[in-house]
Amino acid sequence: MITITGLSYLLAAILFIVGLKNLGSPKTARKGNAMAMLGMLIAIVVTLLDRNILDFIYIVIGLIVGSAIGAYVARTVEMTAMPQMVALFNGFGGLASTLVAYSEYIHHGQHITGPDISITLVLSLLIGTVTFFGSLIAFAKLQGLMRGAPIVFKGQTLVNGLILGIVIVLAVFFALDTTRIELLLIIIALSAILGVTSVIPIGGADMPVVIALLNSYSGLAAAATGFVLYNNILIIAGALVGASGIILTQIMCKAMNRSLTNVLFGAVGTDDSGAGQAVTGPKSNVPQYSAEDAAMIFDAAESVIIVPGYGLAVAQAQHVLYEFTQLLQEKGIEVRFAIHPVAGRMPGHMNVLLAEADVPYDLLLEMDEINEDFKNTDVALVIGANDVINPAARYKKNSPLYGMPILNVDQARTVMIVKRSLSPGFAGEDNELFYDQKTMMLFGDAKKMVSELIKEVKEL
């Protein structure tokens, strides 16, 4: 039976890997997800059959309650709320890992002898607990339950380092005498504090990085628990997720031209919600254009690139935007979307938001694919994006945006920016493009403005 279990776990591991591989293309992605699902099912069923499970009551309750909550959330969550949902799920993964490692200790506490198990046990508790509490904070920030602005206090990094140091010292004491359960409890408590203090100084706009990082932690927590249980499927699956999270973290950092250290300790950014609600800035010094003016330009255009930002989703304007896109396409105008890596609130978020509005994915182009095309494009229509098109990122050395790769919107023949005011983006940097001669500022709510554009273009 042990052999069969082992081989089944191997099969599950293969299905996870091939499933992830299939997630690499939109054509095969659904199949890939289904394969990973099958892998998980096999792992669960085999575990239930093989292990000498004496008590099924708790398992059945757990399976039913967990599945019901998971299914309910998955069905009802809004696509805009995807980041906080993923953050929350990461947290549950971390919690599960911690609990499993801890109850494994309760069962076999007296038999733990070698220092190796003590180390993996402490690691599992540490990573799992940090993931859980860190994710709760990330969730609260994204959900607007607490302010998105960084919360900093003096010596924060020092405190975090100190906590980590104490955990290591306690781990050594625990390794010397594994019967001292109180040491483990202190370690868990300290890890909980560490989870909170390490995420509160991170600003709302940096949350994509944090979610990716917590994603990685939740995988590493599972892997660490795998070491405690000597269970290879936990180690393999955990390692895969750990690697995935690290890659996404790197990509997001690169897209903002920030180092991970800077994101984690830099406390950059303003209040997440504040940026949108900022008081209407002085508009008087730039010419205002109406939807009618814009419609005339569109009428003469042959190519349009739309640059969507998170403001588009906040205004719930994706659907009207696609209606507008189709209208332009009917007129024979080439329309494409330029997606900046940090558009949205988590990696790839904007693509999902547009896919939800039925925008075909082959119209969505990555920054590197489309950036050269702006100079041959008649109109760049920017909706709800700001920092990712700010030319200051190219030359203004003292700007927080400096060095961040941006979309070359300023190279298009005409730039249209739909925005409620002239207020700067998260980075707090004024955007010179607003005052450029070829820029048409279309002040107003994104949804309303796009609807007006549809009406005006139709009337032409």
């Binding site: 939109p26 998980m40 190796d116 790839g348």
Partner: protein
């Protein structure tokens, strides 16, 4: 014992490399489904949780195990379902030749 942990370490490191190879090829278009999907995979702790919850040793262990099963199951079911829901929305342009 040290042998076992060494083997486990080998498996862990090799799996990390496999993960890097496979996931680097996922385009930004699919990064959100990738995250929620890999999130579901990290719910593999369910295997450990089932063992804890069903061990029949002491009450505390079983209850902790049950909470672990619930948490991991939220991850697994929620993660896979929401990933499928998102991927279903990704469609190619029908008008394009």
């Amino acid at each position: 014992m040290p042998d076992m942990i060494l083997v486990a370490l080998y498996i862990f490191v090799l799996a990390i490399f496999v993960g890097f190879e496979v996931i680097t090829k996922v385009p930004p278009l699919l990064h959100t489904p990738l995250m929620s999907g890999s999130n579901a995979i990290s719910g593999i702790t369910i295997v450990g949780a089932l063992i804890s919850a069903g061990s029949g040793h002491d009450q505390l262990g079983k209850i902790l195990g049950m909470i672990a099963v619930i948490s991991a199951m939220i991850n697994v079911v929620g993660g896979f379902m929401v990933t499928d829901r998102m991927l279903e929305m990704f469609k190619k342009d029908r008008n394009k030749k």
